[in-house]
């Protein structure tokens, strides 16, 4: 369904929403009936303007979603973000059932859905206001680069499972869609300031206003994080800071057309402890390293909507420079153009199609450890999709099917179809199921990387030769797309007006997963000294299945007390094919937690106080030797007057410290997540 989807849904989207409302109507019907003993707030004392300003709360919003999507969708609202005390996008994502969020050091995260977690996880697609933020370098996300003014986020929609038909390649195991508020909803000033034991200082300013039919806002923000600790307890070198500014303008004249223009610029500096190999004794060095990244983007979108039809054209340009000193410097320029058209066919069908083009220009500077060939390249990527949604049996059955067709420079054409069925059993129960194919197309590194990951000193038991032996990972032009065939089944129920639950299950079949196959060692004369290269070449010789379930329940215990809970289970049976010679033991099975759960309580207290507590459990990661951990976060907010909010929060209160992840490929020292406290204030004018 489009409405949980691309940002540019247009009228098809609003029509969808209204339909949702009607569905919600049906869904709520039975439940409200059971509510007779509860007192109903007297809305008759409110003016129409007040009523128009009231936001439909998450309960009914979830109810709309209930009827809406034949997919495992979860929505983080602005309210959720505010009350969680999260100060970054990755921390906010910890609210998503089953999503794996692990911090490697202060400025690096490993985030994945349904397994395969890693710093360079490549099966998750992330969009900010319709702009894809995964890097074609490794088809993953530099999480430290992605930030927005958190107060201006409308919601974060997360789809676990494939979303390839609508979003295309790399939406293999999930899609994260960060959607900011419209400029007309931020027509005021906001100033925030905070300080804490880990995030030492932060501040942000946003101002929004209006000229004629154009609403706009502009923001600037800054934060500075102090260093964490190595597992040994010593102070690490992983602090960072970032500065960011941007704007959004929406031109919405009366009539069918509207235009949006938005953009951001940013700059950040970060630290890490890096270990790189070298050809001379002691053949490896570990040192505090610094890096920085900077960039900007600008996006324009035209929407045209009329009754029963909508069109949108979106274009953006994105420039990113990541400079990891002593390792790798990469400059990327991405231009993207996307057109979509949705329309109704008769009373019961909604058809959407679209075309897309993306040009990626990459230029990089290498080091001994990491180099990429060619060091300057332009890639062209073309795509098209079609999707039809049919309502059957008096709207109780909704069938969605479609396919994405893409052409990329590495593997040529890719076809990614899916079919989804939603069955509304009773007004408050629905079942959905889906079968989808998705591919993960090769990244630049898988084609042309050379990563010298270690040097074995000469004349040692493992390397009796007189030359240092360099263990090297190479990309390959033979590298193919990774394949997924996913089967999903979900059930949602609104048990009473105050209790809802959602269960999503999946069985995923992967093939052509990446391995590193050993090649014939060879002698290399330059750079001096002479060394032996022990090559491992990227190949597609791993396959297998994963299955699991994600449960979520939302219980409004009392009008001012909400409890939400989540449990997820993941079993991965990924194995190298019999013809694979990849000797590395680190297949992905043990790098994602098997069990995760959380329980979160949100209470509105008297005198405009609010209190939130979250207890989280993450299972151990056997292949990384990371033990399981519990984390307790608490947040207390106070709004003495509507314009002012004070907030204090503590993270990881049970534990002095714990390690969450060990990085892969690039050997940076992991640091612990400490017990932290943070205070902030927000002033609106």
């Amino acid at each position: 369904m489009r409405s949980i989807g691309k940002h540019s849904g247009g009228a098809a989207r609003s029509a969808g929403r209204t339909m949702l409302a009607s569905f919600a109507a049906v869904l709520l019907a039975a439940n409200l009936g059971a509510q007779s003993h509860q007192s109903v707030p007297d809305v008759t004392t409110l003016s129409m303007e007040d009523l128009m300003n009231m936001q439909v709360t998450s309960v009914s919003k979830r109810t709309q979603k209930v009827a809406d999507a034949a997919a495992a969708v979860f929505v983080i609202t602005q309210e959720d973000i505010r009350r969680s005390g999260a100060t970054s996008i990755p921390e906010a994502l910890r609210l998503v059932p089953g999503l794996e969020v692990a911090r490697i050091d202060e400025n690096k995260w490993a985030i994945a859905s349904r397994g395969f977690n890693g710093r360079f996880d490549n099966k998750l697609l992330v969009l900010i206001d319709g702009r894809s933020v995964y890097t074609p370098l490794f088809s993953g996300v530099y999480w430290n680069v992605q930030d927005v003014m958190l107060e201006d986020i409308d919601r974060i929609e997360v789809i676990r499972g494939p979303g390839a038909t609508l979003w295309g390649a790399n939406a293999v195991n999930g899609v994260i869609n960060i959607i900011s508020k419209k400029a007309k909803d931020t027509q005021s000033g906001v100033v925030t300031a905070g300080a804490g034991s880990e995030e030492r200082g932060s501040g942000g300013v946003r101002y929004g206003s209006k000229i004629g039919d154009t609403s706009y806002r502009a923001y600037g923000k800054y934060f500075n994080w102090g260093p964490s600790l190595y597992p040994t307890g010593m102070t690490a070198h992983d602090g960072w800071d970032a500065m960011r500014g941007g704007f959004r303008a929406d031109w919405t004249p009366a009539g069918a057309n509207s235009l949006t223009l938005q953009g951001d610029i940013y700059h950040s500096k970060y630290g890490e402890t890096l270990t790189v190999p070298s050809l001379n004794a002691p053949y490896s060095s570990t040192f505090p390293n610094n890096g920085n990244y900077s960039g900007g983007n600008i996006l324009g979108r035209w929407n045209h909507s009329s009754e029963g039809s909508s069109m949108s054209l979106q274009m953006y340009y994105d420039n990113t420079t990541i400079a990891d000193n002593s390792l790798f410097v990469d400059h990327q320029n991405i231009f993207d153009m996307d057109f979509q058209h949705g329309f109704h066919v008769g009373d019961s069908q909604q058809f959407v199609w679209g075309l897309g083009y993306r040009s990626i220009r990459d230029r990089n500077d290498s080091s001994f450890s990491v180099s990429l060939q060619p060091n300057q390249v332009t890639l062209n990527h073309f795509s098209a999709f079609v999707q039809d949604e049919i309502s059957l049996v008096n709207n109780r059955l909704r069938l969605t099917f479609g396919s994405k067709f893409e052409h990329n420079d590495f593997t040529g054409f890719e076809v990614q179809p899916n079919a989804r069925l939603l069955w509304t059993l009773t007004p408050n129960q629905s079942v959905w199921t889906a079968v989808s194919r998705a591919v993960r197309t090769p990244a630049l590194t898988e084609e042309g990387l050379r990563l010298n990951s270690a040097v074995i000193p000469p004349a040692t038991p493992t390397n009796p030769t007189p030359f240092p032996a360099v263990v090297t990972v190479f990309g390959s032009h033979q590298f193919q797309s990774e394949d997924l065939l996913a089967y999903e089944l979900g059930y949602r129920v609104q048990v009473t007006s105050s209790l809802s639950a959602d269960i999503a299950t999946f069985y995923n079949r992967y093939s052509n997963l990446r391995t590193a196959e050993p090649g014939a060692p060879f002698i290399e004369g330059s750079p001096a000294p002479t060394d032996i290269v022990i090559p491992f070449v990227a190949s597609n010789k791993m396959s297998g299945g994963t299955y699991g379930a994600e449960l979520f329940a939302d219980w409004r215990v009392a009008p001012k007390w909400r409890l939400v809970g989540s449990y997820s289970y993941l079993q991965m049976n990924i194995q190298k094919n019999s013809d694979s010679l990849d000797p590395t033991p680190d297949n992905p099975n043990g790098s994602s937690p098997r069990h995760q759960w959380y329980l979160r309580s949100s209470i509105d207290l008297p005198k405009h106080f609010e209190h939130d507590t979250t207890l989280r459990f993450v299972d151990h990661l056997p292949s990384l030797s990371i033990p399981s951990y519990y984390s307790l976060d608490a947040h207390l907010g106070w709004r003495p007057v509507p314009r002012v909010e004070f907030s204090i929060g503590g993270q990881n209160l049970l534990d002095n410290q714990h390690l969450e992840f060990i990085p892969d490929f690039i050997n940076t020292a992991p640091t612990v997540v400490k017990r932290t406290v943070y205070g902030s204030m927000t002033f609106k004018f």
Partner: protein, 195 residues
């Protein structure tokens, strides 16, 4: 571990204590969609003038009819219970399509539930010329001759008004209501049915 449990129990204890306080003072926390819509319906009654002939007596109640699957539960009843606009109180009735066709012509506000999507045209045809404020939710409801249609925009409830349909029903809608509405022109009856 014991220490951890201690903290956990302390926090849960705190949670439970405040919860009971929170429970005691019901307030504006619950703002579910149909509660808001019920509030709007009450306001519609306030800002719409029916022809005096529409009521048999000066203090005849304003009958609100809900046709089809009722999304309000008892919320609507609770909202308008004991409320009066001038001398008139409220009565909420529920109707089924095909069964109560005659009866629903008695009401002053007719909420057409989304479940009646398939026969909206027949319903609107059936109340044509009668002083009934029709309120619906399905796309195209106002274009097809319904007076008011609720929409959702950015999670907030909005509404459209078909002024021509209001005139035909001899209803006088206050400008206070119209300034907040999106005004919808009526399309030709032969137009396609939008989804």
């Amino acid at each position: 571990m014991l220490r951890r449990l201690g903290i956990l129990i302390a926090i849960l204890g705190m949670t439970l204590n405040v919860a009971s306080t929170a429970d005691a003072q019901a307030g504006d926390a619950d703002s579910s969609e149909y509660l808001i819509k019920a509030g709007f319906i009450y306001n519609f009654a306030k800002f719409v003038e029916w022809p005096s002939a529409a009521f048999s007596q000066a203090d005849s109640p304003i009958v609100i009819g809900v046709l089809g699957t009722d999304p309000f539960g008892n919320v609507l009843d609770r909202i308008v219970e004991d409320k009066k606009i001038g001398p008139r109180g409220f009565v909420v009735r529920r109707y089924k399509w095909g069964k109560d066709l005659k009866d629903f012509k008695d009401c002053k506000i007719l909420f057409v539930s989304a479940s009646e999507k398939a026969h909206i045209d027949e319903i609107l045809q059936g109340v044509k010329g009668l002083p009934i404020l029709t309120v619906g939710e399905t796309p195209g409801f106002a274009e097809r001759g319904g007076v008011i249609r609720f929409t959702l925009e950015d999670n907030r409830v909005r509404f459209e008004v078909n002024v021509d349909a209001a005139h035909q029903a001899d209803l006088n809608i206050s400008s206070r209501l119209l300034t907040l509405a999106k005004i919808i022109p009526q399309t030709a009856a032969t137009g396609r049915n939008p989804g």
